[in-house]
Amino acid sequence: MDFNLSEEQLMLRDGVERYIRDDYGFEQRRHQATTGEGFNRDHWQTFAELGWLALTLPEDVGGLDCSFVEASVVLESFGRGMVLEPFISSVVLCSRIVDRSGSEYHRQDLLPALIEGRLLLALADSESGSRFTVGSIEQTLARRTADGYQLDGLKTLVFDAPSADKLLVTARLDDHSHPAVFVVDRTAPGVEVIEYALVDGTRAADVRFSQVNLPAAALLIDPSRSQPILEEASDRAALAVVAQSLGVMHGVMDMTAEYIKTRSQFGQPIGKFQALQHRMAEMFVEAQHTRSILYRGMAYLDKPAEERARAISAAKAATGKAGRFVCAQGVQLHGGIGMTEEYPVGHYFRFMTLLEKRFGDTDFHLARFAKGY
């Protein structure tokens, strides 16, 4: 066993950390979140140029063929920086689905463009009432037509849909119990995107499909193969969220430690009070063990589906609890300033609220983990 990053991985980490520190300031982020698309296309282009969009994809589509470790290194820093750009949707989740779809046409059509920063994808799967189930097709139906398919239905909470060029849409086909996955232009006739902001400043949408005509080639994955592919990609995305959460926790701890050393009450820095010191220690304990369960999750990514799912669930559940604790204490130790919109720690709390829910919340993952008993 070896838990040390390679030279290349260390360089990657340094590069991402420097970028977040120097070029991704909180004030800019705060402004960006409430402006335009809610993120900055210039940042995205830089990510592409630095190769961060290519990390885990294979070489034949222009990828760098790295392990998930590299992705986790980037994601941890992105968590600390509360990065708004749709890295998880496009790079972790959708690119994985496309890469494993078995459709060479779509792989070559979509992935090189994605890697170069020219294409954004979003997964349109969840539906009203589906909560965290992957592969939801109660309300979305695809019919075969003479030259392809016609799509009708309603998806909700489609993360990063407003900015996506194409949507990967799950739909029922031929009464199959698992979804077919289609590639649909966001701007195609009959696609209605009802945009809204999420608690971290990023955007999502409800997406209505009304008699959307699709060519035969729009079918990315047929129902007989889709479910394991969707679940595997979602598990990876859940682990990506664990890595982001770890970055959040370290961001909160550093900020809070700094604050309680300078904030003075009762004639001394409040960091001198043992009650606060112990709270910081408890936060540190949570962050340490979060890193460990993240590593364990990575160790199980390529194991058989059931083992993988349980390991991811253990990681996501433990992280959901740990992240909430750390962020809540971060606000508490700051006192009043922690409640304000102009100060970062409250934004961490909001971001962590999103992370706890994405790709399954703590309750969902504890239940999935316990299925193995």
């Binding site: 066993m1 220690a281 559940a317 504890l366 316990a370």
Partner: protein, 404 residues
């Protein structure tokens, strides 16, 4: 990064597992399962002889002293497999505390005199560190050792407390004050004392679990040959700290935590609610899952330290997180067993009653898995107190990780 055990280590695991399957006797397994403090002396001796015969009496010692040259990961696998097989993980005071100090700082006579009988199971040791007024604040200990007028013997006076297993120990290693004129940490020495020496009185302390493992040791003009002082006078504090650094991950009690979790599942499968195994009910399954996820995280925290991850955080602060989380899990996982047992948890088994399996006599009413669980739950209240109380660990983390 490489997150997998090597094939060689996996083979090693199979070898160790097979050894324990073949060599853990029913008697040993009984005490391994129940966790009575302490197990009978003859059972301990026999177990140590079994390990020694295989060359594994003290795997963590250097090979020249009868140990192995296993990597930290292999030692980890060994202990994990031993506990899984309900082998006895007992007598650490001798093999893991006294011996490493004697190996690192003792002279040849001390090494030849004290190590072989420990390895072969002939001699058991106890540890005399804590005192009534020196618990978490160990440096304030008061037990004095003064050279007599001939300069051949130390004369020891004082009192130790919470000394585990002094009733069955032949020898003890003690932290004693040999110089009261210097800074408290500087005047402490590491002294080996024959527990049969005149002037030693051992009084068992009955703990809330009904166990007899803890004791008080009174030392009144105990004469100790000065050859039994290890290393340099005044260096005892340094040696004690060396021990902590040798055993960075043991405070996680990861093998205990994993094994007790499996016991909790066994109980929760056997206990029924309206005909359904407790473990299959959502509420209880969730409780188990929450604890298991934390144990898995802790296990990987241990592996990260054993594999020598280059940490960005302060190492000692990280090690303290093992103690904080590990000790809390010791309590949570034994509480889980008690909760799984429900009202059955309420029968109190005395120390004597735990010496044998009662299930054969009492049939289904008191299945074997119930024996000793509540006692263990009571005993684990100590886990957040001993070895540096949880609150002291948090002080350490706040200071070393954040400079508070």
């Amino acid at each position: 990064m490489n997150f997998q055990f090597s094939p060689e280590d996996e083979n090693f695991r199979q070898e160790v597992r097979q050894f324990f399957q073949e060599s853990v006797s029913p008697e040993v397994a009984h005490f391994g399962y129940v966790g009575a403090h302490p197990p009978p002396r003859d059972v301990l001796r026999q177990w140590q002889k079994t390990l020694h015969a295989r060359g594994w009496g003290a795997p963590h010692w250097p090979q020249e002293f009868g140990g192995t040259d296993w990597s930290p990961i292999r030692k980890h696998i060994f202990l994990e497999e031993m506990l899984n097989a309900n082998g006895l993980d007992y007598g650490w005071q001798g093999t893991h505390m006294m011996a490493p100090v004697v190996i690192a700082f003792g002279n040849e006579w001390q090494q030849q005199t004290f190590l072989p009988p420990l390895l072969s199971g002939e001699v058991f040791w106890c540890q005399g560190f804590s005192e009534p007024n020196a618990g978490s604040d160990l440096a304030s200990l008061k037990t004095r050792a003064e050279l007599d007028e001939n300069g051949t013997h130390y004369v020891v006076n004082g009192q130790k407390i919470w000394t585990s297993d002094a009733t069955i120990a032949d020898w003890g290693f003690f932290l004693v004050r040999t110089d009261s004129t210097v800074k408290p940490q500087r005047g402490i020495s590491f002294l080996l004392i024959d527990m049969k020496s005149p002037g030693i009185t051992v009084r068992p302390i009955i703990s809330i679990d009904g166990g007899h493992g803890l004791t008080e040791v009174f030392l009144e003009n105990v004469r100790v040959p000065k050859e039994q002082l290890v290393g340099e006078p005044g260096m005892g504090w340094t040696y004690a700290k060396y021990l902590l650094e040798k055993e960075r991950t043991s405070s996680a009690f990861i093998y205990f935590n994993k094994r007790e979790l499996e016991k909790a599942k066994v109980i929760a499968r056997a206990e029924l609610i309206d005909g359904v195994p407790l473990l299959e009910t959502p509420v209880f399954a969730r409780k188990v899952a929450e604890i298991e996820a934390d144990i898995l995280a802790l296990e990987w925290s241990v592996l990260r330290i054993l594999a020598k991850e280059e940490l960005r955080d302060n190492l000692d602060a990280v090690v303290s997180t093992l103690k904080v989380r590990g000790s809390e899990l010791q309590q949570r996982v034994t509480e889980l067993q008690v909760d799984a047992m429900g009202p059955r948890a309420l029968r109190f088994f005395s120390h004597d009653a735990r010496q044998k399996d009662v299930s054969e006599e009492q049939g289904d009413l008191w299945p074997a898995h119930t024996l000793g669980r509540t006692n263990m739950y009571f005993f684990q209240r100590a886990s957040t107190i001993y070895g540096g109380a949880r609150e002291v660990q948090k002080n350490i983390i706040a200071k070393l990780a954040f400079g508070l």
